[in-house]
Point group: C2
Chain length 196, copies 2
């Protein structure tokens, strides 16, 4: 027996259901029918909150992007030597990724089939660019190695950070966000090799 749940959703709580479904089925593979089933409310109830699934996508990736861009406005990202600011940003990226895991996961899977997806990709590129500029400035200061090309280094560091979304599960049994952020910062800046 299925009983329709009374619609006690807010745009915010509906969003968290939608993001889960998008991450499981892929955005393209998700219909309003799927969202309605997962939320336990009718499609027209969903349309009461949002104009459609693309609006849910926009809200979800906005949350991830706001979290990431917010880092750049934080005090330690704005003042001081470029290398210290870069280290701060790398650490905070890991923390934001873990704190907003489903939203960042969705952002990382966006492919560019709709206007919203293309907009999200553009914003991601802006963010990558801002971090690359910081890396460039740190290299110009002589604090960061100059033998790895800036764009490639940025891609590799983002690759390491973003890969956390593939395996991190906030189940309380594993590492917390601080431990993961410490490890990433140590590896990215110090490398594996023990200084001799």
């Amino acid at each position: 027996m299925t009983t329709a749940k009374r619609d006690t959703y807010t745009p915010e709580t509906l969003l968290s259901v939608a993001v889960q479904v998008f991450n499981e089925r892929g955005y393209d593979g998700t219909s309003m029918e799927h969202l309605s089933k997962a939320a336990g409310i009718s499609k027209s109830s969903i349309y009461h909150h949002v104009s459609g699934k693309e609006e849910l996508l926009r809200r979800a990736v906005s949350r991830a992007l706001d979290g990431l861009f917010g880092i750049l406005d934080e005090e330690h990202a704005r003042g001081g030597r470029a290398s210290d600011r870069l280290e701060y940003v790398v650490r905070r990226m890991v923390e934001v990724l873990i704190a907003e895991l489903p939203y960042v996961t969705l952002l990382l899977r966006v492919r560019g089939n709709t206007d919203t997806e293309r907009w999200a990709l553009e914003r991601r590129r802006d963010f990558d660019h801002r971090v690359a500029e910081l890396l460039k400035a740190a290299a110009a200061d002589g604090d960061i190695r100059g033998d790895v090309e800036v764009r490639l280094a940025t891609r590799l560091v983002f690759g390491m950070i973003n890969s956390i979304a593939e395996w991190y599960r906030p189940d309380g049994r594993g590492m917390n966000e601080r431990e993961v952020a410490d490890a990433v910062t140590q590896l990215v800046f110090g490398g594996l090799r023990r200084a001799s």
Copy 2:
């Protein structure tokens, strides 16, 4: 006008078409119909070469796995200090990923819905485990930092390497596999920070 292509495929050339379709549509989203269209031959011609799409998947991920496991049998991966062997393996992983890009990309996207996918995931875990053992031995030798937990360090290093599949395109305009392998090795072992 569509004319059916004469079947001049070998299992090998059919495989390269199939891998491309799997990577574009996802393995689950690919039907024999899609494969038949992409190859320009009938489904029965495909069945002449292989038992079905799962056999194509098995052959494709086997090629990636054979490439990766082959590294561990190479001379420099077998003799010498653990840290040198680890560095060699990391470099060769990047080279194999780029040399077998579509096959490794497919392997990295495998999700575990079929026996073949579960087998591939199991083999991937074996490989990860072999590299983690090397990292552990290098830490025991005192050559690798001991403050990042082995399993986490392995995951992060694999995350960096595997992310290359997301953006690397062998179009001749960008970096070649040696440049990317150099950069990864420098970052993973030396980190970004300039030794002072």
